[in-house]
């Protein structure tokens, strides 16, 4: 299980457990599953989707963001986000 956090400078937008996170980095789409190697990536402007443990999918539009993965903790940092469920 992944522990996921979506944070902006002003607040924590979303946090919870997820099965999978997909995001678009500068080099292309990236999927994170539990057990992923530690990663620090720059995100391209676009959508990050988080598949929660209960099966629901949360989509966030991220501008100017980062993704950091370590020990099954995923943090999505973004300057501006809109939920587009």
């Amino acid at each position: 299980m992944l522990k996921v956090e979506v944070v902006t400078p002003e607040k924590r937008v979303w946090s919870g457990e997820a099965k999978m996170v997909t995001a678009r980095t500068l080099e292309g789409d990236l999927g994170v599953l539990p057990g992923h190697a530690p990663l620090l990536g720059v995100l391209a402007d676009g959508t990050v989707s988080i598949k929660s443990t209960d099966g629901s999918v949360n989509d966030f539009i991220i501008n100017g963001g980062f993704i950091s993965v370590s020990n099954d903790r995923v943090s999505i940092l973004g300057e501006a986000q809109v939920v587009t469920n």
Partner: protein
């Protein structure tokens, strides 16, 4: 009513009106401290994550980024001082300005020129009145800063840092920030921090061993994207803490003003009572004296 009594009453009325104002300001500040503190807390997950990421890249890669390498021959430094827009907050703004003066003196003793960047009308007025040079200034948001404000300020600072200090008069080799640290409701201390070049990245939690990150696309690119954000987050955090400190300082100043007004009203009431009593005593003795005089005059005529 006697002249003396009228004067006391008038002063009491004015002190009471002032007390109403200071009491209201105290209550407003008290409620805003809580909000400001919540904002500081809400911004910390982002700041912590960024700090972690920056220390990971900085310690795990050998990239030489202009934002992390100290100039061998520094020429100029930028100092950002965060003050309040409004007064009535005790020594809040002055304490930050004084801390700034100390830092400027220190930098000058190292042979650096200093460019001053100011946030808050109080600081701007202080510098303008003394004809000191201001490189850039911002005002109007000291008690409720947003991330957009922090970005505006840090973009100017980063641009100055990237410019070459040897040829450009606005270019700087170092970046310092002066803000007021919010320690608790009763303690706020002005604090000077060096933001750039990065030296020690302080983390708020206990020291953790960082995993061997992979970087995407590569360490240099990640650092390029991270560092401006990191500076923005630092400036934003400093602004939020300063805002909370400003409210706390104002609340304390207004509380003591209200207390003083209470004291003043008490002593004025005593004085007014004494004056009224003196007036009554005088009137009685005048009446008694008058009656005596009348009585003795009529006694003589009989």
């Amino acid at each position: 009513m006697g002249a003396q009594l009228r004067i006391y009453r008038r002063r009491m009325r004015s002190v009471k009106a002032t007390k109403k104002i200071t009491k209201a300001m105290e209550l407003i500040s008290a409620s805003r401290i809580v909000k400001a503190q919540q904002k500081v807390a809400a911004s910390s997950p982002y700041a912590n994550e960024l700090t972690r990421a920056v220390s990971a890249v900085a310690s795990l890669s050998t990239t030489n980024h202009p934002l992390t390498t100290a100039s061998a021959n520094p020429k100029r430094a930028a100092v950002l001082i965060i003050t309040a827009d409004r007064g009535m907050a005790g020594a809040y703004s002055n304490a930050a300005i004084k801390e700034g003066d100390q830092l400027v003196a220190l930098l000058k003793s190292r042979g650096l020129e200093v460019n001053t960047y100011l946030v808050g009308r109080k600081g701007i007025n202080f510098y303008k009145f003394r004809n000191r040079k201001i490189t850039a200034s911002w005002s109007g948001f000291s008690d409720n800063p947003t991330y957009a404000h922090a970005r505006e300020v840090s973009d100017a600072l980063i641009a100055a840092f990237i410019a070459d200090a040897q040829v450009d008069l606005n270019g700087v080799d170092e970046l310092h920030i002066i803000y007021t640290q919010f320690k608790s409701m009763i303690t706020q201390t002005p604090d000077a921090k060096r933001m750039l070049p990065l030296e020690v990245v302080e983390s708020t939690g206990p020291a953790v061993i960082l995993p061997m990150y992979e970087f995407e696309p590569n360490a240099g690119e990640v650092l390029n994207a991270l560092l401006p954000r990191y500076i923005q987050a630092r400036v934003f955090n400093a602004m939020l803490q300063s805002a909370a400190s400003e409210h706390a300082a104002r609340r304390r100043a207004m509380k003591s003003a209200t207390d003083n007004a209470d004291e003043l009203i008490k002593s004025l009431t005593r004085l007014a009572n004494a004056a009224r009593q003196a007036e009554i005593t005088q009137e009685i003795s005048e009446i008694v004296g008058g009656a005596d005089a009348l009585a003795s005059a009529s006694a003589g005529s009989e």
